[in-house]
């Protein structure tokens, strides 16, 4: 019997060792990618790089200001579209989980989440770009907002569904009308979770290239017009990294570094904010 216990203990130790090993292993890809991009890209970044448009081939210098501004504008518009729509839909799904509408729209959300981003780009191309006859930042924003929606909807729904029903009853029993119960009690109590969903969805779309290929297209000049083509960080990386020029490769590395840092910072802020605003139930 004692020998048996020895063997069983050894097996437990081995098992623990294996899971620790894999937990460590999955951190490696990120660390390696990070280090590589920092090594290649960090050196490119300076004030000139952030405030100038790309230089033509053969000219020294140049930066990514057009892509920075473009990404900012398009993500902003996409957020303005997707956050209210997604939150409202998420509230409906969590409030009425048993209805037919909730079943089918929930199903659509799941399928939408699985639609390849390039397909979203093509569809928006036929919806907006073709009728208007031009690539535009607006169409890019619409494509990005479609990518954002499922994440915002599901995170809102799942956060709100975890809130106890007693909370809603408390408010209703005070004579508070339904819309105020939702807006003043339910949403604020679930705000940390909803916010983290929103931040994650932004981190997700900021790096999307495919939906922008047929919509915002790209623009080597600084542009703020939403009805004209607009550059974005991922699209700039895509075009410049696939070019045959070393200068342009460096530009792409620098842009990659900025993009990665942005996503990293966004994730850290999300973690801090959700911890700070988490409501103790």
């Amino acid at each position: 019997m004692e020998a048996r216990i020895g063997i069983r203990n050894t097996k437990s130790v081995i098992f623990k060792g294996i899971i620790v090993f894999f937990a460590f292993l999955i951190t490696l890809p990120l660390i390696i990618i990070l280090l590589y991009i920092i090594k290649q890209g960090a050196g490119q970044v300076n004030w000139h790089f952030l405030t100038n448009v790309p230089a033509p081939v053969g000219e020294a210098g140049g930066g990514i200001s057009n892509a920075l501004l473009g990404s900012f504008i398009m993500v902003l518009i996409a957020s303005v579209i997707a956050i209210p729509v997604g939150m409202m839909a998420g509230i409906y799904l969590s409030e009425n989980p048993k209805t037919k509408l909730a079943y089918y729209s929930g199903l659509c959300v799941d399928i939408l989440q699985g639609v390849p981003s390039i397909v979203v780009g093509i569809v928006v191309y036929f919806w907006i770009v073709k009728p208007l006859g031009t690539f535009s930042a607006l169409s890019g924003s619409v494509a990005l907002s479609i990518m954002m929606l499922p994440i915002v909807i599901r995170s809102t729904e799942q956060t709100l569904r975890l809130l106890p029903a007693s909370l809603k009853e408390a408010a209703l029993s005070l004579g508070v009308p339904y819309h105020r119960v939702i807006l003043k009690v339910i949403v604020p109590c679930g705000f940390a979770g909803i916010l983290s969903g929103i931040m994650l969805s932004i981190a997700r779309i900021i790096g999307e290239t495919a939906p922008l290929l047929f919509t915002a297209f790209g623009n080597p000049y600084l542009s703020t017009s939403v009805t004209k083509p607009m550059e974005s960080l991922p699209h700039l990386i895509f075009t410049y990294a696939t070019s045959p020029y070393d200068d342009w490769h460096n530009l792409a590395w620098g842009a990659s570094f900025i993009l990665l840092m942005f996503v990293l910072v966004l994730n850290i802020i999300t973690k801090l904010l959700t911890r700070k605003w988490k409501v103790q139930l």
């Binding site: 106890p164 009853e169 408010a171 029993s173 005070l174 004579g175 105020r180 604020p188 109590c189 103790q280």
Partner: protein, 252 residues
């Protein structure tokens, strides 16, 4: 002269086809403490939730008959108005976790968007918390979140929240079933205090509690109001055999 505050006339409640409260007729006087007792599933909570129209919020839940509040049928009034006139305290303490103790007390005003001055709020908060026997314990931490309080304190905070709306009638749905014995006795002691200003209807599983705190007791069984009489008489000399069986513990 005793005046009636709540009167149920042939009141029935349903969950879909399930008839859970059957033809209840009851008349409750001002400043009384009424205990509503009965075995699980007898319809006592459903009846209680019918009084302030919380019952109808559950999908498929319907009701028939009248509940008169000060002579007026609550089913002819606006549900939101009815709920703001009748206080309710639930089984589990449910302070709003996003609000401070102070904000929780005036939540009925804040959440309804009623504008009241800071001075008025201060008065309401102190008065309500004092009535709920909580003022002394929390007066230095009014701006902390209500959820940091103990279970018993949270429940008294919920009572203060109900009192703050100045209701005539407060409904309690098994208010101590989630509390430890010490918190329970602090809440029970409060019922005696509240009686002077309010009418209380308390649903309870606990017969001893009904005997301790109430003036009159209603016994529900299988959706019917079997007996409604002075608490003393109910526990010493009940008229109905079913009441007798229940209080002697022949079924629970």
């Amino acid at each position: 002269m005793e005046s009636t505050i709540v009167k149920a006339e042939n009141y029935n409640s349903y969950f879909g086809d399930n008839h859970v409260v059957k033809d209840v007729n009851i008349s409750i006087n001002k400043n009384e403490v009424i205990a509503v007792m009965g075995p699980s599933g007898c319809g006592k909570t459903t009846f209680l939730r019918g009084i302030n129209r919380m019952h109808e919020l559950i999908p498929n839940a319907t009701s028939k008959g009248k509940i008169l509040l000060d002579g007026e049928n609550v089913y002819d009034m606006n549900a939101i108005y009815v709920r703001s006139k009748i206080g309710m305290v639930f089984q589990r303490p449910n302070p709003f976790p996003n609000l401070s103790i102070y904000e929780n007390v005036v939540a009925g005003y804040l959440l309804n968007g009623l504008k009241i001055s800071k001075a008025d709020k201060d008065v309401i908060v102190e008065k309500s918390l004092t009535s709920a026997a909580l003022w002394k314990e929390v007066k230095d931490s009014l701006h902390k979140k209500g959820t940091f309080l103990s279970g018993g304190q949270q429940q008294r905070l919920c009572i203060a929240r109900a009192i703050a709306m100045q209701p005539e009638l407060i409904l309690f749905d098994e208010p101590t079933s989630a509390l430890d014995p010490i918190s329970t006795s602090s809440v029970e002691a409060l019922f005696h205090e509240l009686k002077t200003n309010y009418t209380l209807i308390i649903v309870t599983h606990n017969m001893q509690q009904a005997a301790r705190v109430s003036d009159r007791t209603a016994f529900f069984y299988m959706g019917e109001l079997v007996e409604f009489d002075d608490t003393k008489k109910m526990f010493t000399n009940p008229a109905d055999q079913r009441t007798q069986n229940y209080i002697t513990g022949r079924f629970s």
